[in-house]
């Protein structure tokens, strides 16, 4: 069989087709990142001038000495860990539920219900969640009051703000991850599960020893994607809490944005660069671990 790569002219055609996308990626993907990293080594007051002043690592040292940044970094990592675990857990359970014989009717309705928030504009969704949590007229506390339960602090208190925005984010994102799991489940070999059942495996054993190993590709894609997504959490914070109360949801993306707003471009891009490095390291680390797991 002849492939494009096997002959010089075939390779030429291949590169010709790839070229526009490679150029677009370089110009709109890689170049802004390089520029941003460059700005992180310049003085904020000259950052956007044609000849900015180079300050070496000063911006990095400044933010690493900033207790708000360190708290923001800690908050971002805690939130990401909580969000990734709950997203993967919830979406896996929901996908298994949709894939099971438990629901013979209404499967389409359940699929629609979980996927609809994914296609809902995120800002509109989060504004509604903010209203749901509102302390004076929010539906959530109205319901709690009606059934005689104490009010939920929602976004107004440090102790409940993070969990409140996490719930809103799960509502918005879980459907996407469910679809990936469903795609993987559709490819699973049903014969293996049947063989396990004949051998006397119970439901848990079938899930743990048969289904879960077959779901490794989806688990890897979903967990890496979720990790990247939640480390960069921004919109939900901008819409619902603006980093508050008292910085309890002031994650790195939002904190960097606040510094941009104050004209502190050097420190803001230094933060963005650190976040970028964390995302790359964690995502690559996670992929490496899962690839090793797949080989063993």
């Amino acid at each position: 069989m002849t492939t494009y790569k096997s002959t010089p002219s075939g390779q030429g055609i291949f590169y010709l087709f790839v070229l526009p996308f490679a150029v677009l990626t370089a110009v709109f993907g890689v170049w802004p990142i390089i520029l941003s990293i460059g700005v992180s080594f310049t003085a904020s007051s000259t950052a956007l001038k044609p000849n900015p002043t180079f300050v070496g690592m000063a911006n990095y040292l400044a933010i690493l000495a900033d207790p708000v940044f360190l708290a923001s970094l800690r908050g971002t990592l805690i939130y990401t860990a909580l969000a990734v675990i709950s997203t993967i857990g919830l979406s896996l359970v929901y996908a298994l539920f949709l894939n099971s014989a438990l629901i013979s009717r209404g499967r389409a309705l359940f699929k629609l219900a979980i996927f609809l928030p994914v296609v809902t504009p995120d800002i509109a969704g989060y504004v509604v969640w903010r209203w749901l949590y509102d302390q004076s007229f929010g539906a959530l506390n109205e319901i709690l009051r009606a059934v005689g339960l104490p009010a939920f602090g929602g976004l107004a208190f440090e102790s409940t703000a993070m969990i409140s925005i996490l719930v809103a984010e799960l509502w918005h994102h879980v459907g996407f991850y469910v679809v990936i799991f469903l795609a993987n489940l559709a490819l699973c070999d049903k014969g293996t599960a049947e063989a396990a059942e004949i051998d006397g495996a119970n439901a848990w054993q079938k899930f743990w020893h048969v289904t879960l190993p077959e779901l490794k590709p989806a688990l890897m894609v979903n967990s890496v994607y979720a990790l990247i997504q939640y480390l960069k959490t921004f919109t939900v914070v901008a819409v619902m809490t603006k980093g508050g109360p008292n910085d309890s949801t002031n994650f790195i993306s939002y904190y960097a944005y606040q510094l941009f707003d104050q004209g502190r471009y050097g420190e803001a891009t230094a933060m963005a660069t650190i976040l970028f490095a964390i995302v790359i390291i964690l995502a690559l680390g996670m992929m490496r671990v899962q690839e090793r797991g797949a080989k063993t």
Partner: protein
């Protein structure tokens, strides 16, 4: 034959374009005033064409965040618009990041009719050695109260902080909107971002006749001076133990504050001169009174606050610089200022026709009481945004976990700000 016709047509088109480019000139202005601003510039363009036939002014409105980036990058890359228009503190940032805004002192000197510009107006326009804007629109803010709610609870427009406190409790507890529910609040405030909370404190400080909120022009922290500490303590308590505001206010920025005001959930609020036109006909539908900010001390006169100045700046690399300067001067003329008052709701001239304005619009257009202008610390202290952000963070912590003793907290905060000021001043 056909080829000849096409060639003739092309020649004619080219000639038309050439003639057009010679006789017609277009000035481009970038601002962030939205639809009202676009209408204002259209009106000014029509008026300017009467004195400069063939010249049109095209305005482009960007969201504020985008305006910054576009203005700075365009000026730095010699693709600047002819003029930029915005609040003074935003133009300062453009000036700092580009170093390419014209000194407008000689331009203002050429304007004959300018007696209406006050010292405060002109002080704001200056940044370092340069006058970076011509002041065009004063931004005034008064204290607003829902008229029907006042009548319902048997009160008059509040003059003192004690009045505000009494009315706030009634607005919260006496069902002033007649809904039968406890869903109303005394005050609509905001606290989420540094500018939000400090803005609210600014309004009460300057409205009560004080001259600074955090720092004076000499770099001295004023937070714990007795008169300042009193206002600060009361405003912080309004968020916390007095419970005059909605519990979520700690996360409220401008848009959420407007939702509380326009949604009829709070009875006392900030009224900007630019709000009145809308609130006269929509949302509040004229059911509000405007006055000066409450007094905290009979020894000081309370006031309406001048919270900023919008002005026009000319980049050094403006493509049509001479014409841009001419238009900038024209923006201080009576027709341009009248258009500003009619469309945006503010101006700097005092000789404009206000007969078509509502009583509330006249309150701002023809001020009858004291006006107290912000001290514009950004213009004096380059590190001010960082200082303000740190101050805000400290206050937010107190709103989240109120201290046992506010005076001690204020004193500690002042000392922290002193340390930070010394550090920031040394760094800059």
């Amino acid at each position: 034959m056909i080829v000849k016709k096409i060639a003739n047509g092309l020649v004619a088109m080219g000639a038309a374009l050439l003639v057009g480019s010679v006789s017609a000139q277009e000035l481009v202005v970038w601002h962030d005033l939205g639809e009202n601003g676009i209408t204002w510039f259209q009106k000014m363009s029509a008026e300017f064409a009467k004195v400069r036939p063939g010249v049109t002014v095209k305005s482009i409105s960007y969201p504020t965040d985008q305006w910054f980036g576009r203005a700075i990058s365009a000026i730095n890359t010699d693709t600047a618009p002819d003029l930029i228009y915005n609040n003074y503190e935003r133009v300062i940032r453009v000036a700092d990041q580009t170093g390419k805004l014209m000194d407008l002192k000689p331009v203002l000197a050429q304007v004959g009719d300018k007696a209406f510009l006050s010292e405060d107006d002109l002080r704001v326009a200056v940044h370092g050695p340069k006058m970076i804007i011509l002041p065009i629109q004063r931004v005034q803010m008064g204290f607003g109260v829902r008229k029907s709610w006042l009548e319902k609870v048997g009160e008059k427009f509040p003059a003192t902080w004690a009045d505000v406190q009494r009315i706030a409790v009634k607005f919260r507890d006496n069902d002033p909107d007649g809904s039968g529910k406890k869903n109303t609040f005394g005050l609509a405030l905001e606290a989420a971002k540094p500018r939000d909370l400090v803005h609210i404190i600014d309004l009460f400080m300057f409205g009560s006749g004080l001259r600074h909120t955090i720092i004076d022009p000499q770099g001295k922290i004023v937070v714990d001076e007795p008169a300042h500490a009193k206002v600060l303590e009361e405003v912080l308590k309004a968020f916390t133990e007095y419970r005059y505001v909605a519990p979520d206010t700690i996360n409220h920025s401008f848009s959420e504050m407007y939702q509380v005001i326009e949604g009829g959930r709070a009875g006392m609020f900030r009224v900007g001169d630019w709000n009145v036109k809308k609130w006269d006909t929509q949302a509040i539908k004229g059911d509000f009174l405007v006055g000066p900010w409450p007094s905290f001390d009979p020894a000081r006169k309370n006031a309406v606050v001048i919270g900023g100045m919008r002005g026009v700046a000319v980049p050094e690399n403006s493509p049509n610089k001479a014409l841009a300067i001419e238009f900038a001067k024209f923006m201080l003329s009576k027709p341009a200022q009248q258009a500003s008052l009619d469309t945006v709701g503010s101006a700097v001239r005092s000789d404009l026709d206000v007969s078509a304005l509502s009583e509330r619009q006249k309150f701002f257009a023809v001020p009858s009481g004291p006006l107290n202008a912000y001290d514009f610390p950004e213009a004096t202290h380059a590190f001010y945004p960082e200082l303000e952000a740190a101050y805000h963070r400290k206050l937010l912590g107190a709103l989240s976990k109120p201290p046992a003793n506010w005076r001690v907290f204020i004193s500690e905060t002042a000392n922290e700000m002193r340390d930070l000021t010394a550090k920031l001043a040394a760094k800059k």
